[in-house]
């Protein structure tokens, strides 16, 4: 692996010249700032949060106890210090509703969301790869034009509408999926997950397939493709080594970029399909003004995206050595 000059930290710490370590340091910095934002979130509440939760007739002791529970007693710097040190020790606070630790609620609900995310991404790759390749190879035929129009329409259709349409089609008209609900346990849970995952992919696949398509078109004009044709490379080897592999990097990077979108849409999808995941927990928490639970989930979702982006970066570096130099 080569080292490259330039970039953040390259001049200060020799260790950070290693691209992977540099990315990791950036990820940690961003994670710290996520903490700051999550901390500031509760400060957006107009007025005294304890009073809002307890009402006007609350006693002095109750208000003080609630402030402690929400972590808003004492000076702002000391509040922040406590918040950070608690988070680092894995203490995300306690749900106001159930008095259960936030982390244990998240732990219970996370598997459903993770299953949804994994099913979605597997489906994304399975659909976007062949579609993108086909759209690139046949871009001047009717298929290419149909792909462009179809992609424009699908991308702009909100998931909560396409989700309802898919339920109407697959669960009401033909009985291939349940209307809603979930049962844990692989592989039985796939029966409940495939339609929600397909719904998210109605938005995701067109975007990624389009990126892959234009990337392949760009690659095919490269000199090394001509060189490979001339030296007689043919068949799957030619398509994989000279068209697909050099084109994958932007698509994988985009997949990392759209990780946030997947997690975003998963919230709405969980409500439509009645999946008891983190999204549903979050929406319930918003409805119940369960401030610590909201704060915890917002922070963790940000952390999840930072982690996914970091992983996409790593895969990218492996797929395309050029990416590390940039």
């Amino acid at each position: 692996m080569t080292s490259s000059p330039g970039g953040i930290g390259a001049r200060t710490l020799p260790l950070l010249r290693h691209p992977v370590l540099r990315r990791l340091a950036q990820a940690f910095f961003v994670a710290f700032l996520l903490m700051v934002f999550a901390f500031l979130l509760i400060r957006l509440i107009p007025g005294d949060p304890a009073m809002i939760l307890l009402g006007d007739e609350a006693t002095e002791e109750d208000v003080i106890a609630y402030r402690k529970l929400l972590g808003i007693d004492g000076s702002i710097p000391s509040q922040f210090g406590r918040y950070v040190s608690n988070l680092v020790r894995g203490d995300f606070g306690v749900s106001i509703r159930s008095r259960e630790p936030v982390l244990s609620i998240v732990g219970k609900r996370l598997p459903v969301s993770l299953w949804l995310t994994v099913t979605t991404i597997v489906m994304t790759i399975g659909l976007a790869l062949p579609l993108g390749v086909a759209a690139a190879l046949y871009r001047r035929t009717w298929f290419g034009h149909a792909f462009q129009i179809g992609a424009s329409v699908l991308v702009a259709t909100p998931v909560f509408f396409s989700g309802l349409l898919l339920i109407l089609l697959f669960a009401v008209q033909v009985n291939l999926a349940p209307i809603a609900g979930y049962h844990a346990g692989f592989p039985a849970n796939l029966y409940y997950l495939w339609l929600p995952a397909l719904t998210i992919n109605f938005v995701l696949v067109p975007v990624l397939a389009r990126i892959l398509q234009s990337s392949i078109v760009e690659t095919s004009a490269e000199e090394f493709v001509e060189a490979a044709i001339i030296r007689g490379t043919q068949g799957w080897r030619f398509y994989w080594r000279y068209l697909l592999r050099p084109s994958l990097a932007p698509t994988i990077a985009a997949l990392g970029y759209f990780a946030a979108t997947v997690v975003s849409y998963a919230v709405i999808i969980e409500i439509i399909f009645n999946l008891p995941g983190l999204g549903m927990t979050l929406v319930d928490a918003v409805r119940n003004r369960d401030y610590p639970l909201v704060q915890g989930i917002v922070f963790l979702s940000g952390l999840l995206v930072v982690g996914l982006t970091f992983m996409a970066d790593l895969v990218n570096g492996w797929l395309d050595p050029r990416a590390q130099i940039r």
Partner: protein
Amino acid sequence: MSEIEPLLEVKDLCISFRKGGGRKLPVVDAANLSLYQRQAVGIVGESGSGKTMLCRALIGTLPRHGAGIVSGTVRFDGQELAGAPERVWRGIRGREIGYIPQSSLAGLNPVLTVETQLVESITAAGSISRQQARQEAVALLEQVQIPRAQQVLKARSHQLSGGMRQRVMIAAAIAQGPKLLIADEPTTALDVTIQREILSLITQLRRDLNMALILVSHDLAVIEEVCDDVMVMYAGASVEAGPVAALSKAPRHPYTRALRVSRVDRAVPGQDLEAIPGDAASVGSWPAGCRFWPRCALADEACRRDSQPALMPTAQQLSACIHAERMAELEQ
């Protein structure tokens, strides 16, 4: 008169880009070239003269670039290649004709190792074992004078210098022992010292492997160094062809003469470089008559009126100038 059949003969070749609505945009019109076994021929011309498209016609990749042969013939080793199906080309490319692409610094796939790509070249010729192919790859790298061949095999494009990349491209082009090697501007992106090394490497390989060579360049000096014959292209047409010595001593086309005079290495310090007046005729806006007349000092009414002249024999070469004889007189 018994004459040996040329290895490659291009006659009155016309190439057009295919535009939308069935329109065509000619890029090469009346290109002529002949080449014997083991001979080295240079093609010289400014950018836009059609020399790269001519090379692509010789390896059958015009359709990839949205172009095709309109008329004319390309005979290679007794076989007609103009309009040949892809199946025929597969037997020609790499095996019979090796090719070093233009801007070949981008000719290596950045995500694959040198080994993968060399082995591809080697195994395309016939089925041999992985181990054998690897050994042959090392031998090839040594043949193109790359030190530490084992290390270079494991490297990817971005880890190699420009000269190294060019050597690897040459190794891949000669892997299947072609009879003809085509090098399209093989040294333009390189330092002057490395340029010389690459040129002498190409010359040496040609002798060792008994290959014919077509060297394309915009620089007449490069061609004079390496080639026996030269063909000069201007605005898609062959305007002069013949032995290098003849064209350099007594050019019979004003464009060749202008190319020679504008050469940097002939420049006298303190004196302005005599550039060719006017702009090169660009594709799609070739003038009527001889295509060079707007920039030519000898141009007269006949040059403007008639169509592009065909190559005609003069002293030791072929020239497409109707005033070829007058040029001879002027020189004395």
